[in-house]
């Protein structure tokens, strides 16, 4: 009797797990299917190679190259800035501070809170600051607010990996007479796959976020030539296109969504490939 109930619970849990996996996979496939199906039907070469021409949003000619380039500018700059700030924080928390440090606890709590704040709040906060200092929406403002948005994601994701770092590796490194800086390089080698995953998560969030850049980066039909100029982004373009009353214009939103998805896929696959290469020596 006891064995039978064990068997039933085992089967139920197994079924639940399979069901969960099927649900998630079906969800991903249906999103990709809709985007690819609708996107491929409406996308043209001109859309990804041309700037919007007069009345693009009222079924005019041209494309959304301005948004592609704007999104890439923001995401690349924010990722670099985010890494420059996040990696030293993670190293400080895990190598320089003691495990039970109060400062470490407070920092982690702060980043957890920041992680949970919706991006629209970041956008609104940045907008208030911009008004206070007399700054107009610009590429620079978009980069800064996106960096602020992804730092908590990067720090907490990297921190979780760094905390699992085998301490004995630090011991053997120090025992050879390595400085903390030299030991840090060993730590970074070991946690590199985790850093890559954290970066990819952040890039995905940064490139897909609309709310934060809506207030700060503005919108422009041109590719910005300076940091002070406004820029379009793909998520905001999709939003603008989808909210137009014409079905023909709305189709262009799916073309833009297709481009956005392909960019995310390319970044993700490249990141995983590079991660695999650098982590071949991981112990």
């Amino acid at each position: 009797m006891k064995l039978k109930s064990k068997y039933v619970s085992e089967v139920l849990v197994r079924a639940l797990m399979i069901l969960s996996i099927v649900a998630v996979v079906a969800f991903v496939i249906s999103i990709l299917y809709i985007i690819f199906h609708k996107g491929i039907q409406s996308i043209t070469w001109a859309m990804i190679t041309q700037l919007p021409q007069g009345g693009f949003f009222i079924s005019g000619e041209g494309g959304f190259l301005n948004a592609i380039v704007g999104s890439l500018y923001i995401v690349l700059a924010a990722t670099v800035l985010g890494l420059l700030i996040s990696v030293p924080i993670v190293v400080y928390l895990n190598i320089y501070l003691k495990k039970d440090s109060r400062l470490g606890y407070f920092c982690r709590l702060t980043f957890d809170v920041l992680y949970g704040i919706p991006s629209i709040v970041y956008g609104a906060f940045a907008f208030i600051i911009m008004i206070a200092v007399g700054m107009k929406p610009s590429l620079l403002a978009g980069i800064v607010v996106t960096t602020m948005l992804i730092i908590p994601i990067m720090v907490r994701s990297m921190d979780e990996v760094a905390r699992e770092f085998p301490r004995r590796l630090l011991d053997v490194t120090y025992s050879m007479g390595a400085t903390r800086w030299e030991a840090m390089r060993v730590v970074l080698r070991q946690i590199m796959p985790g850093l890559t995953t954290a970066t990819l998560l952040s890039v995905g969030r940064a490139i897909g976020d609309t709310a934060a850049v809506m207030f700060t980066a503005g919108f422009s039909d041109f590719i910005p030539k300076t940091l002070g100029q406004q820029t379009a982004t793909l998520p905001l373009s999709i939003f603008n296109l989808l909210t137009m009353p014409s079905a023909k214009v709305q189709e262009k939103a799916y073309a833009a969504a297709l481009v956005l998805t392909i960019i995310v896929l390319i970044i993700s696959l490249t990141g995983r490939y590079l991660s695999g290469r650098v982590s071949k020596n991981k112990i």
Partner: protein, 263 residues
């Protein structure tokens, strides 16, 4: 003009421990330790679990710095330098002079070649290129790994067997040209054959290096030790040559430990 390989002046000085007391979070772990550990010998530190053997070993390399709430008094002298009082560059140099082979084989997340070259790079002992290559091969040869890893020097160190990994760790320690090698139960994670290989290596290496080994296995200490330190509850109970301690123990605690009355 090609830069010559930096040679490190190595001395044969005993390691002298004077009035060493160590506590962690207020709990005394080592109590008034006084020792003179001879050069070019294998010294085995033996004692029951939790008696402070590994802590003593870590103190000799100042790895105790990594432990929270640690308080140390006394001195550990290598020549005229006090390891306990050393800081900054002096500490880095002292750690180079007193290498450590960990209990669990711990290759760095790098290739086999880079594991051995790592220490030489950070201490600028060899230039990159042919000079470094020769050094790496020399130390791999010293631990009998050179033929086993031929053709896969640039593959990951984690792909080696556990026994090979431990010999690689030994080669990595030797590559920074230390005077002392501290081995913290360095064979406990190995199979009997690999364990015997590492033991034989230690015996061979004592001509050039001084070896201090913590071991839990009395038979191992009896096989290779020249000098023995018996510790119980954080205190040194008895020291002497292997013959003195194993065959003519003076203290009742040592006699009981050797008889296996406690372990």
């Amino acid at each position: 003009m090609a830069m010559k390989e930096r040679t490190v002046k190595r001395t044969a000085q005993p390691l002298v421990v004077k009035n060493l007391n160590l506590s962690i979070g207020g709990t005394p772990i080592l109590k008034n330790i006084n020792l003179e550990l001879p050069a070019h010998k294998i010294t085995c530190i033996v004692g029951p679990s939790g008696c402070g053997k590994s802590t003593l070993l870590k103190t000799l390399n100042r790895l105790t710095d990594m432990t929270d709430d640690v308080h140390i008094e006394g001195s550990v002298l290598l020549g005229d330098q006090d390891i306990i009082k050393a800081s900054g560059v002096e500490l880095i140099e002292l750690r180079r002079r007193i290498g450590l082979v960990p209990q669990q084989p711990t290759p760095l997340p790098m290739s086999i070649y880079d594991n051995v070259a790592y220490g030489r790079r950070i201490h600028k002992l060899s230039r990159a290129g042919r000079q470094m290559h020769k050094s790496v091969l020399r130390y791999l040869n010293a631990v009998g790994l050179v033929t086993e890893v031929k053709g896969k020097l640039h593959s990951s160190a984690s792909r080696l067997s556990i026994g090979q990994q431990q010999r690689l760790c030994l080669a990595r320690s030797l590559a920074v040209e230390p005077e002392y090698i501290l081995a913290d139960e360095a064979t406990s994670a190995l199979d009997p054959i690999s364990s015997r290989t590492v033991e034989d290596l230690f015996v061979k290496l004592k001509e050039d290096y001084s070896i201090i080994m913590v071991t839990h296995t009395l038979s191992q200490a009896q096989r290779i030790a020249d000098y023995v330190v018996f510790i119980y509850m954080g205190e040194v109970v008895e020291t002497g040559t292997a013959d003195q301690v194993f065959n003519h123990p003076q203290h009742e605690l040592t006699q009981n430990y050797l008889k296996g009355i406690f372990s």
